[in-house]
Symmetry: C2
């Protein structure tokens, strides 16, 4: 049976209403003013702005409009699967299964053509194999240290993170898609840990 | 004096850190679950998703990638100028002056080329003269009624808004850039007011 224009629009609105729940998913990173933790919706917005402003740090072959679309969509699965702080412990295979089921349900609210198109953008981001996906992933890892540096430690303090752990868990991932941003972050992180009173 | 790469990147980061403050600007619209008011950062994210999902309601000549950029940037001036609920009273000329000064300061944190480019996108949105700007403005007006319908009244209840006021202040603006979305919203708003117990 052919989809009516009204049924199509109702599916689109149902998806957009469901997406509103991303505003209630709390991340491990604090706002720059250390006042509260950020949620995944405002984080996603901030990342699209990172992409707009830092695109001169993207490697050749990056399509910045596609990067922005990836960043708009990248955390929607957290509505069902939750956020996993990068310095927390979690079962990677289990998380991937949860996120796949979430993508099935959430993108499945859309009309089929949009479901397939947006799901493909999310899958490309997740696979991290194209230049655009690698740059998007790098920005997703680069923003939290920038917030932590502003807020005086943020999630590094909460999770008792060492400089070595940041290099291993965050640095390697930033460096893949945005090496010049990691050079900058590494230097500022070194200054931060050098000047921090020992705990 | 030529800008060094480090000075350029520091300007870009200073702008992105300043933009973080948009997460603390509270709007007049509630989340769909009526739990709290939304902030302008998460609202901006939600609108970029509206653009991605509802682009089949855009008129010919709309560049959806540009619409998304407009929506990422459109509320940044609220960091200095604050949010103005559409059913509140405010001096339009005074608001425009405040927002212009805010744009000078906030976009002025960026390197000159990015300052000029992003400022131009924001100016195009504000002027609402191009098809892309009109569609972006329409989405900005279309999302709050969708939230209010979900939350059982939301800002309409808070501001004691009538159906006629919605038509005048919101409907006319949605209809300019997205007439089919206004047809849909108008019908759902009529149902809502017809079924609401009189107060």
């Amino acid at each position: 049976m052919a989809e009516t224009p009204l049924a199509r629009l109702e599916s689109q609105i149902a998806f957009l209403n469901e997406a509103d729940k991303l505003k209630a998913i709390v991340r491990g990173t604090k706002l720059c003013d250390d006042h509260r933790y950020e949620n995944s919706a405002e984080h996603s917005w901030h990342l699209t702005l990172y992409a707009l402003v830092l695109r001169d740090h993207a490697e050749p072959g990056v399509d910045i409009d596609l990067v922005i679309k990836m960043l708009i969509l990248h955390d929607l699965v957290e509505i069902d699967a939750g956020d996993n702080p990068i310095f927390g412990d979690h079962d990677t295979a289990q998380m991937e299964a949860l996120e796949k089921a979430a993508a099935d349900r959430i993108f499945g609210l859309l009309p089929n053509d949009l479901r397939d198109e947006l799901r493909a953008i999310w899958e490309e981001f997740e696979a991290a194999e194209t230049p655009s996906a690698r740059f998007a992933k790098s920005l997703d890892r680069f923003q939290p240290p920038m917030q932590n540096l502003q807020s005086g430690g943020g999630s590094w303090t909460d999770f008792e993170v060492t400089e070595e752990q940041i290099h291993a868990r965050v640095g390697s991932k930033i460096a893949i898609g945005a090496p010049t941003l990691w050079d900058y972050a590494r230097a500022r992180i070194a200054e931060f840990f050098a000047s921090r009173p020992s705990v």
